[in-house]
């Protein structure tokens, strides 16, 4: 690390700007992708939080949503002397042997957003993706009064988050609102597919009254554009209104909520992800340990077979609380 003073936060991305001789050792971090708004915000927060928390952060690597690259990056980071690894494996099955290797080298791992199925982790920092789906389902179910048709614009089925959200939404609708028909559209996290599928489905069933989008970053603009073309962007009081629940909590979604174009979003806390990932990484480097139970930041640590998980809160944002400055989406510019 360099000997830069720690007072000024250095959001420039110069991650070596960490306090001199920090306790514990270097933290290697891998970013999962650079092509989604949510993860870009997370990537932005990381160096900022590292400076605040005084973490000796190595230059971040990026695995571009490819687990093989993640493995290679991890090897490089440990080769360069990382004592703790923070990663966000978008594919949780294929990371198992890497986790085993790291365990063998006594390098603790903090995973963000996803929970590896196998292999030891020091701490999983994530919000409950199943809860996203359930929250969206409950919101839509109530607004529609338990009947009608809704569309679920799903992420990729090969991603755990896409599957969790889809299953939770589907299951909740079946249990709590059996009167609602759900159309599932596999969009592969692609805006163009989302637009085409939604457009076709609206042609087929003009009486669709609700939409749940798995990712505001890719689904928001296309959905609004399709609804606009159909003249369906109308106030909630209007019987033609289509209720739209998004997922992510990026500023554009808040803007849309304020304008009444969509009705709600689940705010996935990018800032907290970054903050607590580094918090636990630092703790791991310093050799601290944690126990299951409530934390000091409105969350609960639960025990997993292969480690611990800190389940961060993921608030549902509606017109009522959209201006809450505590939401990360209101802090980024």
């Amino acid at each position: 690390g360099s000997s830069e003073p720690t007072t000024a936060a250095q959001p420039s991305g110069d991650a070596s700007a960490a306090p001199a001789a920090p306790a514990g050792g270097k933290v290697g971090i891998d970013f999962p992708r650079t092509d989604s708004d949510f993860w870009n915000s997370y990537n932005k927060y990381v160096p900022q939080m590292a400076a605040e928390l005084g973490v000796d952060l190595m230059p971040p690597t990026n695995s571009q949503n490819d687990v093989a690259k993640l493995v290679a990056n991890t090897q490089a980071l440990t080769g360069q002397g990382a004592k703790v690894i923070v990663m966000a494996p978008q594919d949780t099955g294929a990371i198992a042997s890497t986790l085993q290797t790291l365990e063998g080298k006594n390098i603790p791992v903090v995973t963000v957003d996803t929970r590896p199925d196998k292999g030891k982790v020091y701490m999983v920092v994530r919000a409950d993706n199943k809860a996203y789906g359930t929250q969206a389902c409950e919101f839509l179910g109530e607004k529609l009064g338990g009947k009608g048709k809704v569309v679920q614009l799903m992420g990729a089925l090969s991603s755990i988050n896409g599957r969790d959200r889809a299953e939770a939404f589907r299951g909740c609708m079946k249990d709590k609102f059996p009167g609602i028909t759900v159309f599932e559209e596999p969009t592969e996290w692609e805006g163009t597919k989302a637009a085409s599928m939604l457009q076709t489905r609206l042609e087929q069933h003009p009486d669709i009254k609700g939409v749940y989008m798995h990712a505001g970053g890719v689904h928001l603009a296309p959905t609004l554009q399709v609804l606009k073309a159909k003249g369906l962007i109308v106030p909630p009081e209007d019987p033609k209104h289509v209720f739209v629940v998004s997922n992510d909590g990026i500023p554009q979604e808040f803007e849309a909520i304020r304008k009444g174009e969509i009705d709600a979003t689940v705010s996935q806390p990018a800032d907290l992800y970054a903050k607590y990932a580094l918090f636990y990484a630092k703790a791991a480097a310093e050799g601290k340990t944690f126990q299951p139970g409530p934390t000091d930041h409105d969350s609960t640590i639960i025990q997993l077979p292969n480690g611990l998980e800190d389940q961060l809160p993921a608030p549902l944002v509606t017109k009522e609380n959209v201006d809450d400055q505590a939401l990360w989406g209101n802090q980024v510019k």
């Binding site: 092509d35 708004d37 457009q199 603009a221 296309p222």
Partner: protein, 337 residues
């Protein structure tokens, strides 16, 4: 040697039939389209309504333009994989030159009306650079444009920091979202460009020279065609058309995501090749490529209407393409290449 002049006998029968079919070779997908239209009407009564068919056309219009660009380049005997990246990058850069920093722009804030021309210019420049590398350095088109595909998309990622651009000038969204005479403007634009290309490649020397170059570049050169210049122009046109595809797509989606266009090139090749355009150059027509796009669009639409479960969708989709291929092969009667 004798001077008796017996005229050589006329051609044998087998060749005769070939010629006639050859003329319709670009339409071998028509039976496939008919089958799809019939199948679709069984899947859902909504399928054959004008509204739904219009949607299919609109959804495919941007891809269709990329197919058009790729078909031109393939006919001239080259390749361009970077078109898909241009679909995202050109609009992103065009827009970033006009929007304020707060919205993700460069801070130049040029007049909004310039966004589309700038976008097309960027597309043309990418094409020109591809052509330059391929022709001046005599590099393989496949590999240059593969690298450029990564570079161009990388440029978009870098410049936008991977963010989507949402706050676009109205003028930029207009083409992709407006309706003219009851049909989406995108359909009109795509239709007109296809018509222009069909006429140019069918009835004008410049267009015909693409076939000559793709068929035998040395022979074309010997016939006085300026092979390098024509190929270069084709790359530039390809880039511009891909950028226009990006404009239409942006208008349809209302924003430019970091992944706009990613993965399209495979679909574009599939459409062009099942439509009869040869990867070896010199063969195929723009009309054929258009039928290829339609097949792909109809298959997607039917699968969506049918609500095939997500995890089986790809399998069904790929299988239908394979069957379409065989039908078109049997209808065309000629080996593909």
């Amino acid at each position: 040697m004798t001077t008796t002049k017996t005229p050589p006998p006329v051609l044998a029968a087998p060749q005769g039939r070939r010629i006639q079919l050859g003329r319709f070779r670009d339409l071998t997908l028509v039976p496939v389209i008919v089958v799809l239209l019939i199948a679709g009407s069984f899947v859902d009564p909504i399928f054959l309504t004008p509204g739904n068919l219009t949607n299919v056309l609109q959804q495919q219009s941007a891809l269709a333009l990329v197919v058009l660009a790729e078909a031109l380049i393939l006919i001239a005997g080259k390749f361009d994989l970077s078109l898909e990246s241009t679909v995202g990058m050109a609009p992103a850069v065009g827009v970033m030159l006009v929007i304020p920093v707060a919205a993700g722009g460069f801070g130049l804030e040029l007049p909004g009306i310039l966004a589309i021309p700038l976008c097309l210019l960027v597309g043309g420049l990418v094409g020109a650079f591809n052509g330059f590398l391929i022709l001046r350095f005599q590099l393989s088109a496949f590999i240059v444009t593969l690298a450029m595909m990564i570079v161009v998309h990388g440029l978009q990622l870098g410049l936008t920091q991977g963010k989507s651009l949402f706050e676009l000038p109205e003028s930029f969204l207009y083409l992709g979202s407006a309706n003219w005479l009851g049909l989406p403007a995108a359909i009109w634009i795509t239709g007109v460009l296809f018509a222009v290309a069909i006429v140019a490649l069918g009835y004008f020397r410049g267009g015909r020279s693409l076939y000559a170059i793709g068929g035998n570049a040395d022979a074309a050169r010997a016939a006085g065609i300026r092979v390098e210049r024509v190929v270069w122009v084709v790359f530039v046109i390809g880039g511009i058309v891909a950028a226009l595809a990006g404009v239409l797509e942006t208008g349809r989606l209302g924003g430019i995501s970091a992944n706009q266009g990613v993965g399209w090139i495979f679909m574009a090749f599939a459409a062009a090749v099942i439509g009869g355009v040869s990867m070896d150059g010199g063969k195929g027509t723009i009309l054929g490529a258009l039928t290829g796009v339609l097949v792909i669009g109809l298959v997607e639409n039917i699968l969506t209407l049918k609500g095939v479960p997500g995890e089986w969708k790809q399998l069904v989709y790929g299988s239908i393409i394979l069957v379409a291929l065989m039908i078109s092969r049997l209808a065309g009667g000629k080996a593909q290449d």
